[in-house]
């Protein structure tokens, strides 16, 4: 399981990038994306996924649909 960023709502503030304990978030073409291979939903690190906890826009950093 991993999180994803809803690009149309993202303000590109970058808070998620430096809170991510797995370095799973990076800036690609002026938009932050989460690498699902690296994302652990912060399990083993923190109580809640850091990207979602710090994101200023509601429903913008959300669990990726199981694919």
């Amino acid at each position: 399981m991993a999180y994803k960023i809803v690009a149309s709502q993202c303000t590109v503030c970058g808070a998620c990038e430096f809170e991510c304990p797995n370095a799973a978030i990076s800036l690609k073409n002026e938009m932050y994306i989460i690498d699902p291979k690296k994302c652990t939903e912060c399990e083993g690190h923190f109580e809640t996924p850091q990207c979602a906890a710090v994101c200023p826009v509601p429903k913008t950093c959300i669990p990726a649909a199981p694919g």
Binding site: T11, C13, G14, A15, E19, V54
Partner: protein, 500 residues
């Protein structure tokens, strides 16, 4: 007069030689020329820190400009008056920017502005998120700029949550000024302003969030005080939420050593998409804001010249030249040319001495004449401390109060520009008249008969007789003429009575 023209002309394409020539036409060029009332009131080390900072010294804001670079977009709290998605170049308020910059881009922009804007004295980082939370970018920007332009003053603003962990670095980087937004000292009040904070890897809500924020803010205040860093506290006045509570906030921050307290009106509009905007929370009226400021003015330094600028503002406080310096317009290989700034500083040192003398003379004259009832005067000015703007070109009026103590700056009133391209428009004139409520007279460089008559009908006088005088001197001359006329009438009446 030659000096006056040179100072005003700096905004236009004037050669440095011309500035130099005007400067050499007489007087001293020492930066310590003239004494200042404000300088006398403050310890020397404090005065040195604030004298060129437009946001910390009301006097300096007539002469010096600041720029903000929007390098710190990430934030660690949510405020009900802020919507981080909103971004519009026509909006002017904190947290709003058009263009986020990397530290390297910010350096290029600062060098371009410092070469072109002679008034430039301060570089601030005010977000658009939080400068202490997005610390790596804040720090990298300041390091780059300090290396290229060592005499630029650095300052930052923060909500305080992440401040304590960076205070020592702030001190070591010679950042003399920190602005902290403190809207409450009671978490119960805070819970109505902050829906959440992100702290120690967790999102906190409700009372817990407000309590954490409050404790960190107080800790930060004390740490800054210990290190003798000047602190300005900004408080957003939110009617019905913290307006009465701000009296307590003022008391606490004063005790904790804040140098200046700035009460700002809440800006609230449904179109901004903020919680307050969408829920009909109103901002304070000008009279409510002034009443609170007056209540707090005893024994505290209050800032009344704040323009609540954008996180990417450039220029004097009343103007924004940000659109002239977008990254598109800044050359890739820009270098810093200090000539304009240096020449300007020499001219200002002299002008400022004269201005301070004019202020003192005004205050002495009012003490002598005596003023029974306070009078509100609005000034149209382009900066430099003079009455030098056309009524129709004013985007804002600076407001002064005349009392027995003298002439005191009390704030500004923003208006829609009345005259565009030489044609006055009645619709916006109504707006100007509304904004000038309570004002007895408007002093400006020029005003047409038509707007003058309209103002008169609304009970507001207007005059361009004192064009290009120092603001305080112009107000004094106007008051003296009015006073003499009133005395004359009394004298005539008495003489008539005696004859009868």
């Amino acid at each position: 007069m030659g000096k006056l023209i040179s100072l005003e002309a700096l905004n236009g394409p004037v050669s440095s030689d011309a500035m130099q020539k005007a400067l050499n036409s007489g007087g001293c060029s020492s930066s310590s020329c003239g004494t200042s009332e404000t300088a006398d009131e403050l310890p020397q080390d404090v005065w040195e820190k604030i004298k060129d900072h437009p946001c910390y010294s009301e006097e300096a804001h007539h002469y010096f400009a600041r720029m903000h670079v929007a390098v710190a977009p990430a934030c660690n709290i949510q405020c009900h008056y802020c919507n981080r998605k909103y971004d519009c170049s026509n909006e002017s308020r904190p947290g709003v920017v058009s263009e986020k910059l990397t530290p390297e881009q910010a350096l290029r922009k600062v060098m371009a502005v410092a070469s072109e804007v002679p008034q430039m004295s301060v570089l601030g980082i005010a977000g658009p998120g939080d400068s202490c939370y997005d610390w790596k970018k804040t720090r990298a920007t300041f390091d780059l700029v300090a290396k290229e332009i060592p005499d630029i003053k650095l300052c930052l603003s923060t909500n305080g949550l992440a401040l304590p962990e960076h205070v020592d670095e702030i001190k070591n980087m010679n950042i003399d000024h920190v602005t902290m937004t403190i809207n409450m000292v009671d978490p119960e009040v805070g819970a109505k302003i902050y829906p959440w904070v992100f702290y120690k890897n967790k999102r906190w809500t409700g009372l817990d969030a407000a309590k954490i924020l409050h404790e960190r803010q107080m800790e930060g205040l004390e740490m800054l005080k210990e290190r003798k860093i000047l602190v300005k506290v900004n408080s957003v006045m939110i009617p019905g939420v913290n307006d009465e509570h701000l009296v307590e906030v003022n008391k606490v921050v004063k005790e904790k050593g804040a140098f200046l307290h700035n009460i700002m009106p809440l800006i609230s509009d449904p179109a901004h998409g903020t919680y307050y905007g969408l829920n009909g929370q109103r901002g304070p009226r000008a009279a409510e804001l002034k009443a609170l400021q007056d209540k707090l003015s005893h024994g505290t330094k209050l800032m009344r010249h704040c323009r609540q600028c954008r996180a990417d503002a450039v220029g004097l406080l009343g103007e924004d030249r940000g659109q002239e310096f977008t990254m598109e317009q800044v050359a890739a290989d820009v270098s810093y040319n200090p000539e304009k700034r240096e020449t300007y500083r020499a001219i200002v040192a002299e002008e400022r001495g004269e201005h301070v003398a004019a202020r003192q003379a005004a205050n002495e004259q009012f003490a002598e004449i005596g003023v029974e009832k306070s009078i509100i005067v609005a000034i149209a000015t382009k900066g430099g401390g003079r009455i030098n703007q056309h009524f129709g070109h004013a985007k804002e009026f600076q407001v002064y109060e005349v009392t027995a103590k003298g002439v005191e700056f009390i704030g500004h009133r923003k208006v829609d520009q009345y005259c565009q391209g030489g044609w006055g428009e009645d619709a916006s004139l109504d707006g100007v008249i509304q904004a000038l409520e309570g004002v007895t007279i408007v002093l400006c460089a020029k005003i047409g008969d038509c707007p003058k008559d309209a103002l008169k009908a609304a009970g507001i006088q207007a005059s361009d007789e004192f064009a290009h005088e120092w603001i305080e001197a112009g107000i004094t001359s106007w008051y003296q003429a009015r006073h003499a006329a009133a005395l004359g009438n009394v004298g005539q009446a008495q003489a008539a009575a005696a004859v009868a």
